[in-house]
């Protein structure tokens, strides 16, 4: 394995007495290699095939030239080759709700939130209509934010069903929160007044 890459290693293997030290990556002076200041001891991979050790009894537990731990962050996905080079590139379907209009709508909501959040607390009092508008804008802003997170972390090609589940779960959640905040606005003093009272309690 490694001996193919480093013939000097193979030569040392034959010459030196067989011990665990021979297979360590720590102290093998190969031709042209400089001392590595951040040397790590060889880490045994859990997925190492046992056939290599079983084949020859002289080998200790297998070591390899691993510089990364056995559990990588975001491991590679199973590789699938779809189609051939002779097939045309699939055309992405157009959507009126995604794309440029969605982006502009998102920014409009974000810009609206800036004065809507500051004004009532600065002025001291709040008209219920503006308070309701603030609630609605916060809900829409939160929905767009969560939707962006779902789009980023649950790609359709990898987890199509989970993605659908979360998308519809988000829509249901937004609906529930909208109804709940409507009830809060109707039965109680309103969002800004409630925050003000709790803050200064």
């Amino acid at each position: 394995m490694a001996s193919i890459i480093r013939p000097s290693l193979l030569a040392q293997l034959r010459a030196a007495p067989l011990s665990r030290r021979v297979f360590s990556t720590r102290s093998l002076p190969t031709i042209g290699s400089c001392s590595n200041p951040s040397r790590r001891p060889a880490i045994r991979s859990h997925g190492e095939p046992a056939s290599l050790a079983a084949r020859s009894s002289i080998l200790p537990h297998s070591v390899g030239f691993h510089a990364t731990p056995a559990r990588p962050i975001l491991p590679p996905l199973p590789q699938r080759i779809q189609g051939t080079t002779n097939e045309a590139q699939p055309i992405v379907e157009h959507s009126a709700t995604e794309g440029g209009y969605h982006w502009a709508f998102e920014r409009i909501i974000a810009v609206t939130l800036v004065p809507l959040t500051v004004a009532p607390f600065a002025a001291g009092s709040m008209h219920p209509v503006i308070d309701a508008a603030l609630c609605a804008t916060i809900i829409i802003h939160s929905h767009i934010g969560f939707d962006a997170m779902i789009t980023d972390y649950l790609p359709k090609k990898r987890v199509p069903k989970t993605r659908k589940l979360f998308e519809w779960g988000l829509r249901a959640g937004t609906l529930v929160v909208a109804v709940g905040l409507y009830e809060f606005e109707t039965n109680d003093v309103g969002l800004t007044e409630a925050i003000s009272r709790i803050w200064h309690a």
Binding site: T68, P72, I73, G145, G180, R197, I198, A201
Partner: protein
Amino acid sequence: MLANRAVQTSMRRLAARQPGLMALGSQGKFAPPAIVALSQRRPVATERLSDSQAQNSILVNQRLKRPVAPHLSIYQPQITWYLSSAHRITGAILSGGFYIFGAAYLVAPLVGWHLESASLAAAVAAWPFAVKFAAKVFVSLPFTFHAYNGVRHLIWDTGSMMTNQKVIQSGWTVLGLTVASSLYLALM
């Protein structure tokens, strides 16, 4: 050129089928590779693997075991991506809390909770000052950070302040404003 090629191919075929006719083949000195390729036929059988079969093959499983070069674990901490992740995380926390309150207010009568503003205000009033201050800081930090960084994003959407230096400056400005505003709001 095409005529030469045609002659060449037909000569090869002739040599392959009837080597005795050609002076080369009859002397048995050597067989040019082109003739050998035509005269020897090696049947090779291929089999078609279905997609699920291919996935469980040894090669695919070995590919999964190959080491991955480190990426997230070695990326240099920079204000760009730290603040970007913080923007998303604070947004998720604030919206998540908002959603939880909205849903909880709706189910409160069914479960027996009291989530009206009057009861919440009375509950908070009973806390000691240190706890109240800590809770206010805990709420206002993500809120002010998300607000200021949101404004920074909107400035970027107009196209300005997008050089590396400006991004770093605006990032540190946002952090300073966040801390100052949080302390002011918590002490209010």
